[in-house]
Symmetry: C2
Subunit: 325 residues, 2 copies
């Protein structure tokens, strides 16, 4: 179970390794939202998303003897890159298991971060069996994407920074909106803020059709998504909240906020125009909630996490074209 | 004449007002450039460019009695927004004189930052006469875009931050590449680094056809551009280096580096893909120099200023489409 002490220890290990991202703002965005909005741009983090924090936290927390043998992860997205780069900087082997039909750019990027990419056929091969075999043969440690206490601790370092930076802006009460997939980022931030900024309330944000966390919080028990793919918000699509993360979300978070894909794209465009940052649709759902769901929010200040920026040019052009149309 | 003491005093006045922008990097960019590249993203500054620093520095340096009457500037671009927002935050009147054919978005943005926009007809009216009349009638102080010691001091605060941040990365010798128009940003940074990082050499960067600074440095005397408009790098197009800035550039800078418009656009795309920041073409010429002119550079580390991000969606889409083609 992730404690504040674990988050603070992760922050020590991340010092000088992860980027301390700034808090951005724009009077134009404040005007649309009708309140002060501060954006924590984790798209500017190494590898283009917050996942580097959790990856580094988990890899650096391993016993050196265990770590030297290497790590393994399943992911075609931001977690793959975060773990791969953390492993590369530690100088240890890293295997990332990806479906053979993953976009070539993602495969290339993961390899460029130093990982050995093992491709499998989604239709005919068992990903978990391949991973278990490789882990056993080579002594690799599995780094899970969110249901892993040291990963949650790493993501929680964002909460520590938010508490400090918000205090610097004179904010003592705010809602903190976080794009939520499996809940590692959201639960880590909620744990940090519980201790460091008790006047803050964390709100998980999701796209329509993939609102498992919002429904789980409303029901009080874990709910699954009907669909498991087919969203432009691919970075935050998971079947259901984690077994470790959900109890934390349930204890600490306010109700989830659900946005449309169109609202996520409009938030991408506003982040381009007004904050000069590149955010992927999944990473923009919290900004979309702040901009387009003002009635779901209370108070004068909202802090938004922009969780990642790994969007390809075609998708980004499509977002900008909506504005021009 | 801007001194280190003036730059440090400007940094004190800017503390908590201007954003301290981070230093970004990417192993992908390092690989293309063949050396370590660090990017200072002033596109993330308030108003989307470094100009807010100079604007705030100049406005905050005025005698309170003088300041209360207000300020005036000529600009259709980043300087307009920087001065307007600095004046708004000081709660003083601000007049920006813009050509009536300026893009509507720029006029709207300048108004949204609280300025009174006075439009003039380029063909039939004398901009300077309008400005002089308004300044005299209302007691407004003119804030010049670069040939003004307190503006240079404000831009120089970027040099102070670069010196500190580079030391944190263990860099004691580097070339510092700066997009250069009239030379306020470049001379301010050069003055700060002369004192704080004497192992660093500043290199002004410009687009082809508008390389007045590179030619002036080569000739030892001020040279003019043949054309005064018609570049996608509009943010850094000026007729010639400033009377105040050029002697500083001549004393402290290495030779200028000139890039093509295509290289500037490719740098915009790489900044999108690898750094997740929005940079306008003129703000990307220094990154283009680092990426595509490695033979013009020496040493293992280069620091690049990405000076602004005020690019419209159509231009940005065009940059991304080059990559897709």
């Amino acid at each position: 179970m992730t404690s504040l002490a674990m988050i603070e220890a992760a922050a020590d290990r991340l010092a000088g390794r992860a980027r301390r991202t700034p808090l951005l703002s724009s009077p134009f965005i404040d005007e649309i939202a009708g309140r002060r909005i501060f954006v924590k741009p984790e798209c500017l983090q190494h590898t283009g998303s917050f996942k580097f924090r959790g990856g580094w936290s988990a890899v650096s927390a391993l016993d050196p003897e265990v770590r030297r043998r290497g790590v393994i992860a399943f992911s075609s997205g931001n977690h793959a890159q975060g773990v791969a780069y953390a492993a590369k900087l530690h100088g240890i082997p890293c295997v990332i298991i990806m479906p053979s039909d993953a976009p070539k750019l993602k495969i290339d990027n993961t390899r460029a971060f130093g990982a050995e990419v093992v491709l499998y056929d989604r239709a005919r091969e068992d990903r978990d069996a391949i991973g278990a075999r490789l882990a056993a043969e080579r002594g690799l440690t599995l780094i899970k994407p969110f249901d892993e206490p040291q990963v949650i601790a790493g993501q929680g370092t964002i909460g520590l920074e938010i508490a400090e930076q918000a205090a610097g802006e004179g904010i003592s009460a705010a809602e903190v909106l976080v794009p939520c997939g499996g809940g590692g980022l959201t639960s880590g931030i909620a744990l940090a803020l519980e201790a460091k900024a008790p006047g803050f309330t964390v709100r998980p944000c999701e796209p329509e059709g993939f609102d498992d966390v919002a429904r789980s919080l409303a029901a009080g028990t874990i709910q699954r998504n009907a669909r498991l793919s087919g969203s432009i918000c691919d970075a935050i699509i998971t079947p259901q909240p984690g077994e470790i993360t959900f109890p934390i979300l349930k204890r600490l978070c306010g109700p989830g906020i659900v946005v449309s894909e169109e609202q996520a794209l409009d938030a991408v465009t506003l982040a381009f125009n007004r904050l000069k940052i590149v955010v992927e649709p999944g990473g923009a759902v919290a900004l979309a909630a702040a901009l387009f769901h003002p009635d779901a929010l209370a108070g004068e200040a909202v802090i938004v996490v922009a969780s990642g920026g790994n969007v390809d040019g075609a998708m980004f052009r499509a977002a900008l074209e909506r504005q021009a149309a």
